[in-house]
């Protein structure tokens, strides 16, 4: 026999157990599951509203206003800020550099990250020490990493040039961060060095969950090492690769620290990516409208790119399932 419902959210009278198990009607504040769920997500929603939605609305509004003083109301100029940045001969080159930086960094991080993860997944001596040591670049703050590399690459006092000259590999110092032809690639390399550990951790964690029996079965069927990688390891890794690629695309596209700290925008602005350009608009001209417009364009580009990622990911999933 069904007794009084104690199930939360029931539309019937709610009951509680009284002394001796006698059902008694509940009194006081009662919440249905629906309202309880809303209440529970309310803090998160509030924080999102404060830290995401409000700034976003300000950004969108700011890109249609002309304002030269922070905090003071600008006046409506429609699409003019977008026309200004489009006409500015810095915008398109900066966009190209941002794409170059993002793609370069992503390619380096994914390939080297995968290689290191596979290496660290093997049963080699000193593996545990190597797994710890490989984290070093990631735990070093970006400012410190930038300083380390700036000092290391210094043409006069840097250890890199000193070593290369001492070993007679080069005869005059390399000006890696001082020449427009090499500055961007150097920054890409250093930035990849800084963030590769994150990729390694992600890949390594996934590699360690590959079912041993699947690998053994493949080997029993005569699969070579490459075939095991191609048909077992890679499909297993793919979801994590996609997540890593998405995360790093967003972070690299928005990366400000390394291009700025290492090269201050670079000789002949060769490392002036869009985030650095935004700072220029803000700190130089206090042109909040143009800075907001560039930010909005960046966000739109990222939304498109990430949508493509999702489409590719789903297709990949379907192919694997099929």
């Amino acid at each position: 026999m069904a007794g009084p419902s104690l199930i939360t959210g029931s539309k019937r009278t709610r009951w509680r157990k009284g002394a001796g198990g006698i059902p008694l009607p509940r009194v006081g504040l009662r919440l249905s599951d629906h309202w309880l769920a809303l209440l529970m997500v309310l803090p998160a929603l509030t924080l999102m509203a404060i830290y995401v939605l409000y700034p976003l609305s300000q950004l969108i509004a700011g890109s249609f206003l002309q304002s030269y003083v922070l905090g003071q109301a600008g006046h409506w100029v429609g699409w003019q800020n977008f026309q200004i940045i489009w006409a500015d001969n810095q915008f398109l080159p900066a966009l190209n550099r941002t794409i170059y930086y993002t793609v370069g960094e992503l390619a380096l991080q994914l390939t080297l990250g995968l290689a290191f993860a596979l290496l660290l997944n093997m049963n080699l001596p000193g593996r545990n020490i190597a797994r710890g040591a490989v984290l070093f670049p990631f735990i070093v703050p970006a400012v410190v990493a930038a300083l380390i590399w700036t000092y290391a690459l210094d043409p006069l006092t840097g250890i890199v040039n000193y070593a290369l000259i001492s070993w007679h590999i080069i005869h005059k110092p390399l000006l890696l961060l001082a020449l427009p032809s090499t500055a961007m690639n150097t920054v890409v390399f250093i930035s990849a060095w800084k963030y590769i550990p994150l990729i390694i951790i992600l890949f390594l964690a996934r590699l360690q969950t590959i079912p041993v029996e699947v690998v053994e079965a493949a080997r029993c069927d005569g699969a070579t090492t490459w075939q095991v990688f191609r048909h077992v390891t890679w499909p297993w890794l793919l979801p994590v690769v996609m997540v890593a690629a998405i995360a790093r695309t967003i972070l690299s596209f928005n990366e400000f620290e390394m291009p700025f700290l290492l090269a201050h925008g670079g000789p002949l602005q060769s490392v002036t990516t869009l985030p650095v350009l935004i700072r220029q608009y803000l700190s130089q001209s206090v042109d909040i409208g143009s800075a907001s417009a560039v930010s909005l364009v960046m966000m739109a580009i990222l939304v498109v790119v990430l949508s493509l990622y999702v489409v590719v990911y789903r297709r990949g999933e379907r192919t694997l399932d099929g």
Partner: protein
Amino acid sequence: MPDDTGVDIQGGLPPDPVRAITRAVRKQTTRRRFMGVAGAYMAGAMSIDALLSACGASPSGTKAASTSRTGGIRVLNFFTTETDPPTQANLMSAINDFEAQNPDAHISPIFISGNERDERARTGLAVGQDLGMFEIDRSYSPTFVDAGYLLPLDPLISKIGGDEFALGTRQVINGHDWVFPYGGGPFCCWYRTDEGSQPNTIEDLKARAKANTGGGKYGIALASGAATAVENTLPQFIWSNGGDYYDPKGNTVFGSSAVTEALQNVVDLLKYAPPGNSNWSVFEYITVYLNGLVSMAPWAGRLGENMYEQKSPQESKSSVVRPPWGPQRIGLTRWSTVAIDKKTQYPDLALQFMEFLYTGKSGVAYAGSVPGQLIPAIKTVRDAAAADTSNPFIKAHPDWLKTLYDQAPNGTDYGGPMGAVASGTLKLYNGPGAPWSQTAWGANSVDWQLLQKIALQNVSVKDAQTFAVDQFKAIAKDYRNKHPKWRPYNG
């Protein structure tokens, strides 16, 4: 035996295991329990916050940076970038003295880095934070005055006497003083006495630079990038040669032959500068000189102070001479300035503390914390600071200090009076810099771009100059278009 959730702890499953488990889970995390825990947590957090606030260590940055009356005490924030340990110690001592004289006052110093100073001030003012007394780059003052952020300092300036301040250090906008110039760092030429004679002309400079380049050493510390490194040197060569960027009305005068000649001088000297100078920060000037890698370095008093403090081997074989970059010998003198937030709760306290810190004995002591880098703008304080032989650094290098003190009023900067050298000689006045200073000489400065075109793209000096003239004109025109009410300083 089943407990009250229906789960038999000791033996076997209850008759309805799903229901029993559901009940057990619900028992563990009931809404009532959740709300109770959440409430207790919030209450606890609020108590801790209240406790920390009462102890004066608020966990909230905004709170810490506000000015408030706490228990009858007037609190004034003071944002400063003067973080040299001796200057900090001096400031704290001055604050103690001030608070002893004013028991109802508390000065709360907030040390910030030079890099974040301007953005911090801009953001703080924009969001309505009470900045109290704060440093700003004086090139921002026209914008801040326009925005209504600053409190006029007329009562204090009048009390001290407007003529007491070195000419060009005050910034009179719309008939009022808005910033207080508390210390200047005059750029001069530091040189090694064991590597040639004192350079007094640009020709001396070139000859010395050439003679001392070779064998891993370089003639002069000079940069073609990045922007801040260039803006510390290139303008000095322009001014010293009688050139300028704009006239006092804001018309571009950068196309003059004096500027062409100055640019050529810089390009000639860059041949004797250390490699990699297209990506310098401001620190490299000091670093390469302290490391004995260059024979000369254009820098302000801090270089001498660093040699002295670090007991550098270069100290005993170095001297400093007024800028030999051109016949006018006009260096960069960057006057540091403080302002008062217009909406601060205790403007009188801010004015009172400003006077206390930068004048009289405190002013002399403050200037002596980094001698040669914080040269007072007020004449009486400057004279007293220059004669303060109790300071061991001044005692050790009176000749250095004399050169720096003599040079201080003979320099200008892009945040200073616009067009002070447009006539060919230095004619300082108490007006503001170009209001478009940050666009022209900021993070992507035109000077930097033009010098990189010459140094890295082999563009001729004349063509690079033409490019720069167009840029300077466009920047000024753009500003005027966006600020149609702007008028040049008219005295």
